[in-house]
Amino acid sequence: MKASQELTLRTQPGTGKASGRRRILRNWELYLFIAPCMLYFIVFQYVPMYGVQIAFKNFLPSKGIAGSKWVGFDHFERFFNSYYFWDLLWNTFSLSLYELAIGFPLPIILALAFNEVKNGLFKRSVQTVTYAPHFISIVVMAGMIITFLSPSSGILIRIIEWVGLQPAHFLEDPRWFKTVYVLSGVWQSAGWGTIIYLAALSAVDPQLHEAAIVDGASRLKRVLHINIPTIVPTISILLILNVGNILGVGYEKVLLLQNSLNIESSDVISTFVYRSGLLSNQLSFSTAVGLFNSVVNAILLLTVNRIAQKTSDNSIW
């Protein structure tokens, strides 16, 4: 009796609190390992989340977060009723959707094309070259755009004239801002974006292709019926993540390309948050606008994920 009890104890090292404590004690160093990381997330991610409450207060730095007066949804109301609310929302949505419509399919097409070409010097060179712009900084990218589109000396303007078209004032004309933003983004990141699809494509079973060839399937048919179905899960997950970030247009590049002439189409929520918060010092108001932005993002993400879950098996969790 006693022996068997001991045996169970040894083979199944107990359950409940005692075992938990033992596991903690035995691996106490692992808690040291994760401590700096947790400290970082608490200080720079969770403390700011606590600070979000100033969106509902009239925050005065002298009084601190806790000491400032509650004002409820005043800042949100002011934002929703402002004359620029719909413009900001429209600019943010349209810029994101435009980017998604052009920038999302292109890496997929490029990856499918790479996959058809045999490994060799040509494939490697195209890959190396198209990946490279990913490493160009946003500032240099903006500088390139401004220089290439300069009406007096830009090379793109010269090329457009050479083709026989009339170049527009791309950076001053609000109608052109979004196109410039999206196309330059495609130039910079389409190549790099293929990597993740190429990884998914490498999982295709070669036997499938062999069988299809025997059955007389053309290359195009094999791409459509073997390669694309293989990467559909990857496509869905990236699409969900992208839609979930639809109001999170990268303000870093927009901010650099923004000027007083194109601002009516280049002002997005995140640049507005920066301007009102850090330049005009309306801390509470700006936080409220930022909070609105992240709440919309979270709702979009959950909704799209739900739809994907219902219609297919692909979801991010």
């Binding site: 692992l30 947790m38 070259v129 712009p133 490493f135 240099v140 500088g143």
Partner: protein, 303 residues
């Protein structure tokens, strides 16, 4: 003789179209890069008029002389190197041990820690609350404001954790424990030496991030002597301020005769500065490409 797999006419045409498409992509991406390189060593007159459109015309190194003679660019360069090295070391010191701990299935509470980390992917305090934290910590106008708020990235932690999970055999850890090896020794003596590829990937991802970032400097720094290179580039390329140094004050005779107007000096400097700031990364990247690609792929195995 007929080849083993007979390509039909349609297949051949399809393949030709693919090659054409990839060649077009190659040209579209490569052309601006070559153009900038050529423009940086050409006489501005030819660049601005469009006469120089592919290969250098009126060879001159004056642009580079102006760039290297500019104290601001030097300071920016030095600052960026310092911020990148210290920042990346901190990133590694925070990310690798944490990722290793999270990779251990016998680490009690790892699910909870993982949730704490993952939540920050979906919610964040936003710009102003984060700014207030940095300010309250007294980090404004210090290099730590550019480094500490980006000590770790969720994505990189997941990538490193996946790597440890899939490459460090569990038996190795059990054997080490039976031999009385502590977790600390195990990590430093056994796990890290086996993890050179992931250390390289992490260092590269974080390093490039530090090298290219400008926004933290824009909001947190107010002294020009602390500006990283990207802030100096912003002044030159985007705000189009050349700084007194290059605006004729110390312009050499040759440069003055080469560049008839301020605008021409500006364009001379622009291309040279783009090359000088981007070259360190673009030049080493083809050799490290394997590692970068590996990093993205490890991350995509399990998101």
């Amino acid at each position: 003789m007929v080849s083993a797999i007979k390509e039909s006419k349609g297949d051949k045409l399809f393949l030709v179209l693919i090659y054409l498409f990839l060649t077009a992509a190659l040209i579209v991406v490569l052309y601006p890069l070559i153009y900038m390189l050529s423009a940086s060593v050409s006489t501005p007159k030819y660049v601005n008029s469009g006469e120089m459109w592919l290969l250098p015309k009126g060879l001159t190194l004056e642009g580079y002389k102006l760039v290297f003679g500019n104290a601001k660019i030097w300071t920016g360069y030095r600052n960026t190197i310092v911020y990148t090295i210290i920042g990346t070391l901190i990133n590694l010191a925070v990310t690798l041990p944490a990722a290793y701990a999270l990779s251990r299935s016998d680490f009690y509470g790892r699910r909870l820690f993982m949730i704490v980390i993952l939540i920050t992917m979906f919610f964040s305090g936003g710009l102003v609350p984060t700014y207030l934290v940095v300010k309250n910590l007294g980090l404004i106008n210090s290099m730590w404001a550019l480094i500490l708020p980006v000590s770790a990235s969720v994505w990189n932690i997941i990538v490193a954790r996946t790597f440890f999970q899939s490459t460090i055999p569990k038996e190795l850890q059990e054997a080490a424990h039976i031999d009385g090896c502590t977790n600390m020794r195990l990590f430093v003596r056994i796990v890290l030496p086996l993890s050179a590829p992931i250390i390289a990937v992490m260092a590269l991802f974080y390093g490039v991030g530090h090298w290219n970032s400008y926004f933290s400097a824009l909001i947190y720094l107010n002294e020009e002597s602390k500006f990283p290179l990207q802030m100096v580039l912003r002044q030159i390329l985007v705000l189009q301020q050349m700084g007194a140094e290059t605006n004729g004050a110390v312009l050499s005779g040759e440069a003055a005769s080469l560049a008839a107007s301020k605008a021409e000096i500006a364009s001379l400097v622009k291309y040279a500065v783009i090359i000088v700031s981007t070259l360190p990364i673009i030049a080493v990247y083809p050799f490290l490409q394997r590692y970068f690609v590996q990093g993205v792929m490890i991350g995509s195995v399990k998101g």
